[in-house]
């Protein structure tokens, strides 16, 4: 399948999924109410569809696309199909930033948690960008990412440990589980800025990711400005992952799974993989959020919980199939 055709198919799938996700929800609407929502924008059904569900769906699509693109970029850069956006430690430091903001009582200020999370991500991003400029071996980034994640995780635990208020702890936990509930268009705009920059950087790095297929040294001798492309890939993924966590908390598996779903269709090409991965990530997260809303539970399921619950078994299945193909 050509790249354009694949992207068109995924875009149509995204539009269809989003349409279903806007139409369905906890409060079931009648045919008359749907017609009212489309004709009278001031009516209560229109309120449900366009100011409650639509921003939520758009946010899920935006975050899913960011995670899918960041995951595909990381897999290409590290030449490792198991890489995901959090591998650099950026998600963990973004979580730490949010935890600090909530425990510090900043939750009342609109945008404060998001800003703190983004700041945490950017701080870690600056560290890994520095490392990427200095070392070309992917192992270096992976190992420092592990260290950064562990350290940020420990500091987040320390926030829990020292927090005098159980309410704040519960709030941080709920936030960390990931959600796109109650988002409005301001939230979307706030997230879209850093995400657009991150996406631009990742797409700029695409040709470098392809060249890395040959290995670090052949790529370095290829004539492409590999040092610059490597930094762009790391900075772009860090921005995308950080902005995603800032907008919706920690959501696992989408960044890992989305590239795997489309890899075969682009014949393994790590450059052509980027845009389809973003679209696939958006479809996955919109669908996961719809599931979170529709599965009847006493408390609405958290989005991060749903993606992990469904994602982990699917991922195990993918790994099983891959393992069998390695043996043949």
């Amino acid at each position: 399948m050509s790249s354009r055709r694949l992207e068109l198919c995924l875009l149509l799938a995204l539009i269809a999924t989003a349409a279903v996700a806007v139409s369905l929800g906890e409060s079931a609407l009648s045919a008359v109410q749907y017609r009212q929502a489309l004709t009278d924008l001031a009516s209560p059904p229109a309120e449900v569809l366009w100011t409650i569900r639509l921003p939520r769906v758009l946010m899920a699509a935006l975050v899913g696309a960011g995670l899918g693109l960041a995951g595909a970029t990381m897999q290409g850069l590290l030449r490792n199909p198991l890489a995901e956006p959090g591998v650099l430690g950026v998600s963990a430091t973004a979580g730490l930033g949010a935890a600090l903001a909530i425990a510090g009582g900043l939750a009342a200020f609109p945008g404060a948690i998001e800003l703190a999370a983004l700041a945490g991500a950017l701080a870690a991003g600056a560290v890994v960008v520095g490392l990427a400029a200095r070392f070309r071996e992917p192992e270096v980034l992976i190992l420092f990412g592990v260290a950064l994640s562990a350290f940020a995780g420990a500091l987040t635990a320390l926030v829990f440990n020292l927090s005098p208020s159980p309410v704040a702890i519960a709030e941080v936990l709920a936030w960390l589980m990931g959600s796109v509930e109650n988002r409005d268009f301001t939230d979307i705009l706030r997230a879209a800025g850093p995400m657009a920059v991150g996406a631009g950087l990742c797409l700029y790095a695409a040709q470098g990711l392809r060249m890395l297929t040959l290995g670090e040294e052949a790529a370095q001798m290829s004539g492409l400005p590999m040092a610059r492309l490597r930094v762009a890939a790391v900075a772009g993924s860090a921005l995308l992952a950080g902005a995603s966590v800032a907008a919706a908390g920690v959501i696992g598996f989408v960044g890992l799974a989305a590239p795997h779903l489309v890899r075969a269709a682009v014949r393994d090409d790590p450059g052509r993989l980027l845009r389809p991965s973003a679209l696939a990530g958006a479809v996955l997260l919109v669908a996961a959020d719809l599931a979170a809303r529709l599965i009847p539970t006493e408390q609405e399921l958290k989005l991060g919980v749903v993606t992990a619950l469904f994602g982990a078994p699917v991922f195990a299945l993918l790994a099983w199939r891959a393992a069998r193909s390695w043996r043949s």
Binding site: R79, T213, G215, M221, S222, R267
Partner: protein, 256 residues
């Protein structure tokens, strides 16, 4: 004529071990230079140091007369194409796409046309759409050779391009590199098969413990003294109807 590539007085360490100890190299357009030496003699290090891929303590490397350190990636790629020893590929791209990675300077349709022609030259045109990870090691080596040829660079540096290849593919590889030299390119190739080196190279650089033990025409470079001193072989280059071969046994072992 300006040499395509020169390395002078290269000293470098890997960890604490001295891997290059004053090694030097020079190759002119139209020439095939074979670099030989026992394992650990510094062949790969010399190539990497000369391309600016590894730090050196002393030494100057020049591509077409210009210091390697002063070249930007585009200028460097215009002057040299490099085939590393490491042949592990990360993704299962079609062979055609991998070969086309040799020509990132061309628009994609032109790069693919060059790649197709080079795949034909190395004899795997029928595998153009096959994923490179679904190939045998030898087929993959040919695709990577096609990628090197697709660079169209005036200096081609190939680190052990025939390792793991069948005899026919080994000869084909050297023939193709010789053809590039005949067309005006400078070619540097590291080899372990001394007979193949003697037959295919215009000149042979023998490395031993990071130093140049010989740098002459094959017959002189691979003299019985060098074979004994550097390779610890008792033997000699022998002229046969098919060309030069090395007949030797390990020093100190009795004849069969």
């Amino acid at each position: 004529m300006t040499a395509a590539w020169t390395i002078a007085d290269a000293r470098a360490r890997r960890g604490r071990a001295l891997v290059l100890d004053g090694a030097a190299l020079s190759v002119a357009p139209g020439e095939v230079l074979g670099v030989v030496g026992p394992n650990g003699a510094g062949k790969t290090s010399l190539l990497r140091a000369g391309l600016g891929l590894m730090p050196v303590e002393t030494g100057q490397a020049r591509l077409a007369g210009r210091p390697v350190g002063g070249l930007n990636p585009v200028e460097r790629a215009r002057l040299v194409g490099y085939l590393p020893q490491e042949r592990r590929l990360a993704w299962n791209l079609p062979a055609l796409e991998v070969a086309a990675l040799g020509a990132p300077d061309l628009p994609s349709s032109k790069a693919l046309a060059v790649a197709r022609e080079r795949l034909e030259r190395v004899g795997v045109a029928d595998l153009a759409q096959r994923g490179v990870l679904d190939m045998s090691g030898g087929e993959r080596a040919r695709v990577l050779l096609a990628r090197l040829l697709a660079t169209r660079a005036p200096l081609l540096v190939a680190d052990e391009p025939v390792a793991g290849l069948d005899p026919d593919a080994q000869l084909l590889t050297l023939d193709l590199l010789r053809a590039e030299a005949a067309a005006g390119a400078a070619v540097v190739v590291t080899l372990h098969d001394l007979g193949l080196a003697a037959r295919s190279c215009d000149r042979i650089l023998v490395l031993d413990h990071g130093r140049v033990a010989a740098d002459e025409a094959p017959r002189q470079a691979l003299s019985s003294e060098v074979l004994a001193k550097v390779f610890r072989l008792d033997g000699a280059l022998v002229e046969t109807p098919a060309g030069l071969v090395v007949a030797a046994r390990r020093s100190g072992t009795p004849p069969p």
